[in-house]
């Protein structure tokens, strides 16, 4: 048993080594999108007199945005960090094979990918937070308070696991030749329809959309963070997003470990 744990951590060490080598890249790809987003919507727009507000008056748009953009960073990072390297390793190289031949059951190698992916998502959340919190025009500051740290921690961690499991799933089922479509067909729709720029509750005027977006995992990440960071905004009931985050992470982890095993063992 302890030998297997040792192998698990050796796999983690390998991934962290690679992450350290590509840390600049990690920062750029994590920071760019949310930075531009808050710059345009929280700084430029208020300055030029354009305005958004997230459904409820009296709340600045940045308050809506903060949990949303953190969730996007988590989701994006999970997919990016797990799926893209895998696709590469499956297509023009077979370099995954050396790790598959490590002396553990194959699913342990997949689980390690989810663990490191989730850690990267968490790191991305930490990097993005100060940016989306601090970049805004005068008077457009977001109002945040964590009233329930435990709820916040659980929502955050499971959002990260869900994102990484989604990454493993996508990475193991997608045809490498279709990778350019991944962003157009999966990542962008998930982002735009992830209740990032508006709380889920405000979708009431469009009932079909309100139901449809429930298929989107990002919705639960956003709503979970919204409930724990900006509780005064309308948000999904706690039980609902918790069920989705915890249940979804578990289910997707199990499914993606299967698809991973099936992909590497013929």
């Amino acid at each position: 048993m302890s030998a297997e744990v040792g192998t698990f951590f050796a796999l983690v060490a390998r991934d962290l080594r690679v992450l350290r080598r590509q840390f600049g890249q990690f920062l750029v790809r994590t920071i760019m999108q949310p930075l531009l987003f808050v710059f345009v919507f929280a700084y430029v727009f208020p300055k030029i007199g354009q305005g958004f507000h997230g459904g409820s008056t009296g709340v600045s748009f940045t308050t809506v945005l903060v949990p949303g953009l953190i969730a996007v960073a988590i989701n994006f990072q999970g997919i990016q960090a797990v799926a893209l390297p895998l696709v590469q390793e499956f297509s023009f190289s077979k370099e995954i094979e050396d790790r598959v031949l490590a002396p553990v059951p194959v699913w342990v190698v997949g689980l390690e990918k989810i663990a490191v992916g989730a850690a990267q998502s968490l790191l991305a959340a930490g990097v993005v937070f100060p940016i989306v919190y601090l970049v805004h025009a005068h008077g457009a500051a977001p109002s945040l308070h964590i009233h329930d740290p435990l709820l916040f921690a659980i929502a955050l961690v499971f959002a990260c696991v869900l994102a990484a499991a989604l990454g493993l799933f996508i990475g193991t089922v997608i045809d490498p030749r279709k990778i350019p479509l991944l962003f157009a067909v999966v990542v962008i729709p998930i982002t735009f329809l992830g209740c990032v720029y508006y709380p889920w509750a405000t979708l009431t005027p469009i009932p079909w959309l309100k139901v449809l977006v429930l298929l989107n995992p990002l919705v639960y990440m956003t709503e979970g963070l919204r409930a724990s960071l900006t509780p005064e905004l309308p948000h999904m009931p706690v039980w609902a997003f918790m069920l989705a985050l915890v249940g979804g992470s578990t289910a997707l982890t199990i499914v993606s470990l299967r698809t991973f095993t099936r992909r590497v063992v013929t």
């Binding site: 490590a102 002396p103 059951p105 063992v265």
Partner: protein, 328 residues
């Protein structure tokens, strides 16, 4: 699923590698391919064993099954007595694998490829560092230690793959066409390294297209085609017992048919084949036949552009067995 099996067969008595009626059928909706078809195999401790076969013979699939990454459709594969299907992790702990494809970790340096591989196998940090340095030295890669892997030439990458497979000192080493696609010099270099490993008692299963390689390195060889073993034995045995022929080739200016006809009637000639200008004569002895053939050609008024005699070799064994020419 995790952990060593409760009963570990005695390492001294078990064959390091054993396959029993091993079978693999790849299936898709449109077709099924029988890649390995009831293969029996037994490799002894310390033995250098060769699987020799043409493209698509099922060599890589066999290695895949023995190394846990291909699931057998039927039969059994055992490494040190452990069934690969039920004790995959324990099997993986005992083997080192050099795949046909370059599976080096492109995100790591040369040195790191060895170090982290050792760590995956539970080699302690200090020892893993030592092994990495040691193996780079042994494989003459020390100068490239800090290079990224994608900067290596094919020959160097191949050497690094072998070095990596040895970091954790595996009981059994699998080499899937380790010398294909590298230049003759690197090849001879690799042969020397593999010879040394054999000398040191390493149990090795090697697949190859290359007859010379099999002849030079292997104690025993199984010739396989279409997923079946056609013959098994030491190179010498194979050459003798299969009645391998001396192969005489003649290239003729003009129509070789009359020569082929006459050749078939000569004493000591077992079979004759024709391919364009080329006449291939399989002779049970070499003395005198070549001279006789040239004489016959001349008497027929045919000009012999080229004539050569090949003593019994694995190549002629293979031709005799499969009727197929080897293409590398």
């Amino acid at each position: 699923m995790i952990g060593e099996p409760a009963i570990i067969p005695s390492a001294a008595t078990e064959s390091p590698i054993r396959a029993e009626q091993l079978r693999k059928v790849y299936g898709s909706r449109h077709e099924t391919v029988i890649a390995v078809d009831g293969l029996d195999l037994e490799v002894r401790r310390g033995e250098f064993f060769g699987l020799l076969g043409p493209n698509g013979a099922g060599k890589s699939t066999t290695i895949g099954m023995l190394t846990t990454i291909v699931v057998p459709t039927g039969g059994r594969a055992l490494i040190a007595g452990l069934d690969v299907r039920h004790h995959a992790a324990a099997v993986k702990r005992r083997i080192g694998v050099v795949s046909q494809a370059n599976t080096l970790d492109r995100s790591l340096t040369v040195w790191e490829n060895l170090y982290y591989h050792g760590r995956f196998f539970g080699v302690p940090r200090r020892r893993a560092r030592l092994r990495a340095d040691e193996l780079l030295e042994q494989f003459a890669l020390s100068e490239r230690a800090q290079s990224m892997v994608f900067q290596l030439s094919g020959g160097l990458a191949q050497r690094l793959m072998i070095a990596r497979a040895l970091v954790h000192e595996p009981e059994v080493l699998f080499l899937d066409e380790p010398t294909s696609g590298i230049d003759p010099q690197s090849r001879i270099n690799l042969w020397r390294i593999l010879g040394d490993l054999h000398e040191a008692g390493q149990t090795t299963l090697l697949t190859t297209h290359n007859m010379d390689e099999a002849d030079k390195l292997c104690e025993r060889i199984a010739i396989i085609d279409n997923g079946k073993a056609l013959a098994l034995g030491s190179p010498t045995e194979l050459k003798q017992t299969l009645g391998a022929d001396t192969l005489i080739t003649l290239t003729i200016d003009g129509e070789p048919a009359p020569l082929a006809e006459r050749a078939a009637a000569l004493a000591g000639v077992r079979a004759v084949e024709r391919e364009g200008q080329l006449v291939r004569v399989f002779a049970t002895r070499s003395e005198g036949v070549l001279a006789k053939l040239v004489e016959t050609a001349t008497s027929l008024g045919l000009h012999v552009r080229d004539a050569a005699s090949h003593p019994p070799s694995l190549e002629t064994v293979f031709l005799t067995l499969t009727g197929r020419e080897y293409r590398e």
